[in-house]
Structure formats: structure tokens, C-alpha cells
């Protein structure tokens, strides 16, 4: 059974159709990125999934329970972070998480240790007994992630989980999500950051104007685009002769050098071809210390897709 199934989900706001018969099935233990421009319907979808909005039509099943008719049971095994939530300023993180633990039925004897566990996981131990009213947005976002993990949910619904965090916080949250994937959590997350989705997710659903444009694996989407962008970092500087030789290599469609020691290679090849390219670069005498997807292939594909839908 898929932990998340959306069937013909629609939402109208005073005549404006924010969601238009959206259909989506998220597989268990997968990490699905939910992409789309502003106003595409991402947050509306997530708000319906988390019982903040009522759907105009359609259904949404969380672990087999329709959230539009029985939100209490449907949300039982779901953890969610929607936007950057505020918490009661009079309470401390421990009190807040203890409150959520009680609402979710975590027995009081294990609640305390579980609360401390998630507080440590989001690195908020130092502030666990301070009132939340004094916290920054980033600290509140960590508490939000902690409350989503508290009951060890089967499904995590995250709405731009790194929004409002500083670069270090963003990296830490991404690490948490990566770790959760390894632990077998199913993650459904919206994000504006394409490289984040590419880095964290194995599947991507792109929506625009409330409609699903495409739903596929990141790997397939990159292959469909054919041309990959590869980022190559070198120990030495690139000279004109080397540059010309790289341009002439098999399946290389173009080369850019944003810095003297970095190349961005447009490459039309599969995994085996990439290995061959790396070997060719080394044969040319280049000292490659980093060779990776630049993360722009998905961006270009996404932009093309959005352009076509408008």
C-alpha cells in the first residue's frame, strides 16, 4: 500500500482553481520532491494533506485513510512541517514536544526520552528549557522538524523544510532527511531549491497551475534531458590547448570554465560514458579531484517543462 495517494484532488479559492484534479501516488520508503513555481499548488496540496484546508473535490489517502473525511486517523502516522510554524511562546521545546507526544498517544514513560532524542537530533539541546518566544526562525524550524519526527511516522510531509535556515542549518536539515531515508521513512517534500531535490529525492513530481506535469525518477528525468552538466574541479589551471582537447572529446557538447580550475561540461552520455570521460580527462594530464553532476540538468528540464505548460 502506498503511504500517500492523491486522487483527483481539487481546490478552488473564490473562483480561482489552485488544484485541478491532481493525481499522485508516493511509494513507500521513497523520497519524492514536489516541485513547481509559486502559485503552482504545492502548499495547497500539502495543506489539504495536513487538514489545514478543505478540498473542493477528490480524495487524499495517508496510509490508506482519507484525510478529507477522517483527518484524525489519517494523520496518526504522519509527521509534517508546513511553512515555518510558530509555537506557543510561553512554552519551552521540551514542554511543546511533550504536548505533541501526549496528543499522539506516546506513553508518558517513553515520551520524555523520545523528546530528548529528537531535541538532540535537531541540535536544540542547549535551548531545550528556554521559552520558544525568544527563538529565531531557524530554531523554530528545528523544533518543527523535531515534532514531525517525534512519533517515528511512516510518512513525512515537508513543505520547504530548509526555508528560513542559514546555510549551516540547511545542510544539517538535509543531513537529517538523508538519514531518515536510510532509516526507511517515506518523505514527500516540496522545495524551491532544485539542487536540494536532486540531492535528496529519488522521484520528482512537477506541478503547475494545479496540475501534475510529470512524475518520474530524478535519474529518468536527467536521462530524458540527454545533456547532463558535469562539474569538474582540477588541481591545476586549464590552458587553451587542454580546453580545446576537452571540447573535442566524445559526447561532450560544450565546455564552460567559470574559474581557472573548474569546468562545466555539457555531456550527452550514460554512466559508462561518464566513466570513459573521466579516464579521458586523466589521460589528457588533468588532475581531477572532483567530478560530479552540477545539478543543473534537472533545473533546465524543470524550466523547459514550466515554459511548455504556460
Amino acid at each position: 500500500m502506498e503511504p500517500l495517494v492523491i486522487e483527483s484532488l481539487s481546490k478552488d479559492y473564490d473562483g480561482f482553481r489552485a488544484l485541478d484534479s491532481l493525481n499522485l501516488k508516493v511509494e513507500a520508503k521513497s523520497c519524492t520532491g514536489f516541485l513547481g513555481p509559486n502559485g503552482a499548488g504545492k502548499t495547497t496540496t500539502i495543506k489539504i494533506l495536513t487538514s489545514m484546508l478543505r478540498a473542493t473535490g477528490g480524495r487524499a489517502f495517508l496510509n490508506g485513510v482519507d484525510v478529507t473525511t477522517d483527518p484524525k486517523e489519517a494523520l496518526a502516522r504522519v509527521g509534517a512541517v508546513v511553512e515555518t510554524p510558530e509555537f506557543y511562546p510561553e512554552l519551552t521545546p521540551v514542554e511543546t514536544l511533550d504536548y505533541f507526544a501526549r496528543l499522539r498517544g506516546i506513553p508518558s514513560d517513553s515520551a520524555r526520552s523520545r523528546v530528548m532524542q529528537v531535541i538532540d537530533q535537531v541540535k536544540m539541546g542547549e535551548w531545550k528549557d528556554q521559552r520558544i518566544g525568544k527563538f529565531s526562525k531557524g530554531m523554530k524550524q528545528r523544533i518543527a522538524i523535531a515534532q514531525a519526527l517525534l512519533h517515528e511516522p511512516d510518512l513525512l510531509v515537508l513543505d520547504e523544510p530548509t526555508a528560513g535556515l542559514d546555510p549551516r542549518g540547511m545542510a544539517e536539515v538535509r543531513d537529517i532527511i538523508k538519514a531518515l531515508r536510510l532509516q526507511g521513512y517515506t518523505v514527500f517534500m516540496s522545495s524551491h531549491l532544485l539542487f536540494e531535490v536532486q540531492q535528496l529525492c529519488d522521484k520528482v513530481a512537477v506541478v503547475d497551475k494545479g496540475k501534475l506535469l510529470i512524475y518520474d525518477t530524478v535519474q529518468n528525468l536527467s536521462t530524458k534531458r540527454h545533456v547532463l552538466k558535469l562539474e569538474v574541479d582540477l588541481v591545476g589551471k586549464i590552458d587553451t590547448e587542454t580546453y580545446t582537447k576537452v571540447c573535442a572529446l566524445d559526447k561532450v557538447k560544450g565546455v564552460q570554465c567559470p574559474t581557472a580550475t573548474k569546468m562545466l561540461i555539457d555531456f550527452d552520455g550514460d554512466t559508462a560514458d561518464r566513466r570513459t570521460l573521466l579516464e579521458s580527462l586523466q589521460r589528457l594530464g588533468l588532475q581531477v579531484y572532483s567530478f560530479a553532476d552540477a545539478g543543473v540538468a534537472l533545473e533546465e528540464f524543470y524550466l523547459d517543462l514550466i515554459k511548455e505548460s504556460r
Partner: protein, 291 residues
């Protein structure tokens, strides 16, 4: 096919009743930690100090052996309508709207809890906080009465019980306003204006027009001090008192003072309480987390 929490080996969801208790406890803790409790403590202390300290400078406390304790207690209740309105505003005015305007709903609504449980928990905690403050005020009145007169009258309990009913109705109205408003500040201001100006002005206008303001909630506040007019029921104020400053020689200047009755007061307060809470719940249950 859906799998229940227990089947999935996860935590078993608490019943709605258990969740209401959890919400009540946490909301009450929040109420205790807010500065508004301190404000009420200061108000009560100031009013009590004034009522106790001023009379000795103007001839002492009422000395009538039977009516003295009643008049003494009535002095305390002269400001009770204002206190109750403040309680309703502070503990009810922002109770529901704050989840939306302060964005705390983003944290609470994705939890497996019905809106009805949240609503009930918030209501009970607000009631508890209000009864706590009101109870403290009546304890001061009772203690002062014993200290000054060495006696305690049962009508003080009647007055307190009616004050709780009246306060509950006011809180219900505050909850309804809170459910309807978009921002916390507007909810607080509107509740305050509604009680202190709109309803009070209507009461006054109707009195000048010689019409009983029976359906108005604030009109019923008179029952609270009415109980302390003297031994109940004999001394309870009459339903209307006619005054004629011209001694009957000048027509058109007579004035009628209407007093509420206990039965009507209980009925009107209950109707306001039930209707306003139903409205508040209906709006809160359907309200969406927009923006």
C-alpha cells in the same frame, strides 16, 4: 486497506476526551504564564485595597447589623462587571484567532486531533483561568467580610455562582468574536468595544426609552450585585423602580430603573452562552489556514 496504529505497531491515538484534557492542561499552563494573570492580580489587589481602605476615612464600614455585611460586599461587586468583561476579553478574545493569525495552527493542525477537541480544551482552560481570578476575588470579599463583621452570608455564594454563569456567557461571546476575526488585535478590541460600549449603550438607550433591556447580556450583570442587596429573596431589587425628579409636577422627566431578575438572568445568560459557543465552534471547525 488502511492499517490502524495498533496494527502498525505504533502508538495508539488517545481518545478525544483524553486529548481535550491534554489541551486544557497545556492551555491553562500558558494562561498561568502570561502577564495578563499578573495584571488581574494587580487589579484585584487595587480594588480590594480601595474598598477596604477608603470607607474608614468617610465614617467607617456600613454598621447596620443585618444589612451591613451585604452593603460591604456590594461595594466590592460594583466593579465586577468590568472585571468579568476584562476576563472574557483577555482569556477568550484571542483564544481561537491566534492559531491562525499567529501561525501556531501550522504546528497544531497537522496533529491527529479534531478541531472540536482543540476547541473544548481551549474553552475549558479559559473558563478555568477566569474562575480562578473571579474565585480569588470572591475569597478576598469573603475573608474581608469575616474580618470586619465576623460573619459570612450565603448570598455571596449565590452572587459568585451567577457571576460564573455570566462570565461564561461573556467568554462564549469572546470566543465567537475570536473565531470570526482575522487578527488577534481586532478580536480583542471588538470584544472589548462590544461589551463596554455597544451593549452598555444599548442598555442605557433602552432604559431611557422605558424598555427593559432583557435580551442584552450586560443587562443581566445586575443580578450579581442584586444578590447582595440584602437577604435573598426578600431584599432582591424590584424589577423596576420609578423616579420622578420633578416630584410628579413636571411630566416627561420621570425615569425608570429596570433591574434584572434571577430567573431571566439565568435564561438569558444560558442562551447567550449556548448560541455564541455554537457559532464559535461552527466557524472554528470550518476555518481554513490560509495565507
Amino acid at each position: 486497506m488502511a492499517v490502524t496504529n495498533a496494527e502498525a505497531g505504533k502508538y495508539v491515538l488517545p481518545s478525544d476526551f483524553d486529548q481535550i484534557i491534554t489541551v486544557t492542561r497545556v492551555e491553562f499552563l500558558r494562561n498561568l504564564r502570561r502577564k495578563r494573570l499578573l495584571i488581574f492580580a494587580i487589579i484585584i489587589a487595587l480594588v480590594s485595597a480601595l474598598v477596604l481602605a477608603v470607607p474608614p476615612f468617610f465614617g467607617g464600614y456600613p454598621s447596620d447589623p443585618i444589612l451591613g455585611p451585604y452593603s460591604f460586599a456590594q461595594n466590592f461587586t460594583s466593579t465586577i462587571n468590568f472585571l468579568i468583561i476584562l476576563l472574557a476579553v483577555f482569556y477568550g478574545g484571542d483564544a481561537l484567532v491566534s492559531e491562525f493569525s499567529n501561525k501556531t495552527g501550522y504546528a497544531i493542525f497537522p496533529n491527529p486531533i479534531r478541531r472540536s477537541s482543540l476547541f473544548m480544551g481551549k474553552l475549558f482552560s479559559s473558563l478555568l483561568a477566569c474562575v480562578l481570578v473571579l474565585g480569588a476575588y470572591y475569597i478576598i470579599i469573603a475573608a474581608s467580610m469575616i474580618a470586619v463583621y465576623g460573619t459570612l452570608v450565603i448570598e455571596l455564594l449565590y452572587s459568585f455562582l451567577f457571576a460564573v454563569l455570566y462570565m461564561s456567557a461573556c467568554l462564549g461571546v469572546a470566543f465567537a468574536v475570536s473565531a470570526l476575526m482575522k487578527s488577534t488585535v481586532s478580536a480583542l478590541v471588538l470584544t472589548f468595544v462590544l461589551f463596554l460600549f455597544v451593549l452598555s449603550m444599548l442598555s442605557g438607550i433602552l432604559m431611557f426609552a422605558k424598555v427593559r433591556a432583557e435580551p442584552l447580556l450586560t443587562f443581566q450583570a445586575g443580578v450579581i450585585s442584586g444578590f447582595l442587596n440584602g437577604p435573598y429573596p426578600g431584599f432582591f431589587p424590584p424589577t423596576e423602580q420609578r423616579f420622578n425628579p420633578g416630584g410628579g409636577n413636571v411630566t416627561g422627566f420621570d425615569f425608570v430603573l429596570y433591574n434584572p431578575t434571577v430567573t431571566n438572568g439565568m435564561i438569558v445568560c444560558t442562551v447567550w452562552l449556548v448560541v455564541s459557543l455554537l457559532l464559535a465552534y461552527a466557524v472554528f471547525r470550518r476555518r481554513e489556514m490560509l495565507g
